[in-house]
Amino acid sequence: STPVLVLHGGAGTISRSMSPEKNTAYRRALSEIAAAGRDVLAAGGSAVDAVTETVRLLEENPLFNAAYGAVLTSAGEVELDAAVMRGQDRAAGAVTSVRRLRNPVLAARQVMEHSHHVLFCGAGAEAFAAEHGAELVDPDWFVLPERREQLERVRAQDPHAFVVDHDAAGLAAENQEGDEAEASLASGGDPIEPDSKRG
């Protein structure tokens, strides 16, 4: 079979106010990163190499919700999760609730390759990854102003609803029904409504 790579950058409610500039930026990012992952396969790299590098590049791109530019918790902080699994032998590694690992997907791979365990969380995950050469950054490094604005926008509409946290699409829908202009402003021209992004 021909080697193939598939990637995703999240799912949600499609925006009614996608700007041409944002459309182009997202498409370019998707294409460039997919090409980079394909290049790994074309050079004889393994499927694990390809998915790791692809996700690392997505983590480094603030258009997407992972690592640099990630969304924020209700405490205004980042909490990052990542996982890698190898189909040949079903080896697996994951990290969760980490705040200082620049590339959580690399840490997940370290767990898979250097531990008898499958899943590490929090400070223990960070310490394990650091022991194996992972790059640590200050948690504020991940945080972008637009993500703080996104958090404040959601909290302003319902500051304490856990369910609404997950169902932000409902907020976006209410916005659109009540005030189209406000919804357009909130989306910032993103192809998919930022407040509706699933994950």
């Binding site: 990637l7 409610t13 997919a34 394909r38 990630a70 990542a82 699994m85 189909g87 609404v164």
Partner: protein, 133 residues
């Protein structure tokens, strides 16, 4: 959430997923991304899967492994199994989102039950497609 699945020249599969979670989530909440069989899964005998969506639904449906199980035990194709999970199993537990999957023959499936999703497919020596659905 971001993710990737791949089939390499040796016929092996892999999956990876990474996420910042959801805006305004309760600190400590963990979704499906690092839960194997829910949001991430790979098995050369069936498929590799990476999901994005409302994580609780993917965990309740054990969505990624459900696709593999439908292929292994019910004989469904990748497309049939992925569609069954996204459009039948996931709604049963109140979940929404999408996933990407590839099988050992290089077939790909990218179903979703939300209105939008960022995706790309690139085959070695073939066409690269990137889309905002």
């Amino acid at each position: 959430t971001v993710g990737a699945v791949a089939l390499d020249a040796a016929g092996h599969l892999a999956a990876a997923t990474s996420t910042g979670g959801i805006t305004n989530k309760q600190p400590g909440r963990v979704g499906d991304t690092p839960i194997f069989g829910a949001g991430t899964y790979a098995d050369d005998r069936s498929c590799a899967v990476s999901a994005t969506g409302m994580g609780e639904g993917f965990m309740r449906a054990v969505a990624a492994h459900e696709i593999a199980a439908l292929m292994t035990y019910a004989g469904l194709s990748l497309t049939e199994a992925a569609a069954t999970v996204i459009h039948e199993r996931l709604p049963e537990v109140g979940g929404d989102g999408g996933l990407i999957a590839v099988d050992a023959q290089g077939n790909v499936s990218l179903p979703m039950n939300t209105t939008g999703m960022y995706r790309a497919v690139a085959r070695v020596g073939g066409e690269l497609q990137a889309a905002i659905h």
